[in-house]
Amino acid sequence: MEKATLQVKNLSTSFFTERGEIKAVNDVSFTVPRRSIVGIVGESGCGKSMTARSIMGLVKYPGRIVAGSIDLEGKELTALSPRDMSVVRGEEISMIFQEPMTSLNPVMKVGHQVREAVLLHRKVSRKEAKNKVLRIFEEVGISEPEKRYNSYPHELSGGLRQRVMIAMAMVCRPKLLIADEPTTALDVTVEAQILELMKKLRDEVDTSIILISHNLGVIAEVCDYVHVMYAGRIVESGETFELFDNPRHPYTKGLMSAVNSLALRQPSLETIPGTVPNLLDVKEGCSFAPRCRHCNQRCITETPALSELSAGHNVRCHLVREV
């Protein structure tokens, strides 16, 4: 088996507030194999963005990583000093964000923002750096790169801005790209183009990608593996086809049935009753229990472990063999 790009083991990230510890990421483990796209799905506040930030080393005070290891091709990221980590960022892992409207500095030419990444990590002259930027602009499908190089963010459309963001993240050819809801703020046609672009980059640049989304359609479209997160924990994970064909955790099933489908002509949209639990008071027991229709006594008193159903398909549920 090929070596994995990234191995996350038992990662826990907590926020220490005046009201107590908030376990935003709770004992999360997953692997990103080389040249794969791994999806993380979940509702707002389930810890998927915090997982990404933990990997990037961008968890803000009062939060910090309390346990676990993050292994990037043999390099342990949690042990790095902030200075070493900022060298890894942009060079080996980089990230693109949800809001292309606000992710670019409004008073800086977009070309210079991308060039900043090159100058930071490569010992090249400004002119060479500019050429590199123009080349990556072309690669990510920005027409008229020379003209766009001197544009300010407000002169570009949302799709173009996201392309610039991707260029900025990819210009140093990182081993891992984390995309935090990259298409949520874009309309559907642009979304398809951006997803296509990410697949193309994966194939051509040899970059592994972690795609974070709450949109199951997006995940199904591009991902090789999927991890479903709920209340800071991974509740189900598996290969995309296996997981979509055969969802086993009640939460995953709920998510699937909550997808709007024109083909099925449902009279009304399915929902999961209740809301995401407050992460301040994480009790023993399955965190999904209060919203689960199959919940029994054991679910409330005992936290279920991840159990392997078939090769690579793991589920965190006591009742997985019954339901």
Binding site: S86, F97, N105, V107, E116
Partner: protein
């Protein structure tokens, strides 16, 4: 793909020097007029030796003391026979310099400390901001007087005193701005490509603070000019025979009933400059502050 925008919308977001000037002239006539006036004042101060044939410190006409305005002396002469208009022009050099230099120093220091405090947070923030609080707790005029008293008079010391009095309020405003900018996604994005703290502060946060800083600059200049006038009036600032507007008001005070032009001319000059800077500052704020746009 190209978003449709009206010309007006594009201009609203364009903060280049030319665009700002154009909008200033179109939307805010008093501010534009003030800008021209200030430029003329600066020009007059620089060209003082060309404009006036007299000297500001030598007694030129001992027999013609306290003369009323005439063609020869448009604003009359003072108590030892010096031309008042000449002293007013030379005084503009000091007053404008005192308006601009200490303000620049206090802006630079305040911006640097404010960004540092806002971006770093924690202990750095606490130390800088408590220091600023202490500075702000003193009445600023009193503090400036104490500093001038200890350092002695002289123009460099006035610069120092006024800069020391003003940096704290600048630091506060810049810190607040930084706290807001620090959380923006583009700062986060910059960090995610490995940009270091110092570079983020200089290249991402400072340029985005500039609109506020420019406005703050124009609004702080008049207060610096007034402070210098007050200090000189109290005898702690510029010393004779140099000319400054505050000093001229002070010396003219004794002749207020008999020869009012001695005090009135510099007082009017102070008023006009202060008002002009205030109008300009207000106008710039309307144009540069996105929250006030289009109301």
């Amino acid at each position: 793909m190209e978003p449709i925008k009206t010309r007006e919308e594009k201009e609203l977001r364009d903060n280049s020097f030319r665009a700002v000037c154009r909008r200033l002239f179109r939307e805010n006539k008093p501010a534009a007029f003030s800008a021209i006036l200030i430029c003329l004042m600066i020009l007059a101060a620089i060209l003082a030796p060309v404009i006036t044939p007299y000297s500001y410190e030598e007694i030129i006409d001992p027999l013609n003391r306290l003369a009323a305005p005439s063609l020869q002396h448009p604003l009359g002469t003072d108590e030892i026979g010096r031309d008042v208009l000449t002293r007013l022009l030379y005084g503009a050099r000091i007053s404008l310099l005192v308006g601009i230099v200490p303000t620049l120093i206090s802006m630079a220091a305040g911006a640097a400390l404010g960004i540092l405090a806002g971006y770093m947070g924690g202990k750095v923030d606490t130390v800088i901001m408590r220091l600023a609080d202490v500075m702000l707790a003193f009445p600023s005029m009193l503090l400036a007087m104490v500093i001038m008293y200890t350092l002695g008079d002289g123009i460099i010391n006035i610069f120092l005193a006024l800069a020391l009095v003003n940096w704290a309020s600048v630091a506060r405003i810049v810190r607040a701005e930084t706290l807001k900018l620090r959380e923006t996604e583009y700062v986060e994005a910059a960090r995610s490509i490995g940009v270091g703290s110092l570079k983020i502060m200089c290249r991402h946060i400072l340029p985005n603070c500039l609109p506020s800083l420019i406005v703050l600059f124009t609004l702080n200049i008049p207060s610096a000019i007034l402070s210098e006038s007050s200090l000189s009036f109290l005898g702690l600032g510029i010393q004779k025979p140099m000319a400054s507007w505050g000093l001229m008001v002070n010396t003219g005070r004794q002749y207020l009933y008999t020869n009012p032009w001695l005090s009135l001319a510099p007082s009017l000059a102070i008023m006009v400059v202060v008002l002009a800077f205030n109008f300009l500052g207000d106008g710039l704020r309307d144009i540069l502050d996105p929250h006030l746009k289009k109301q």
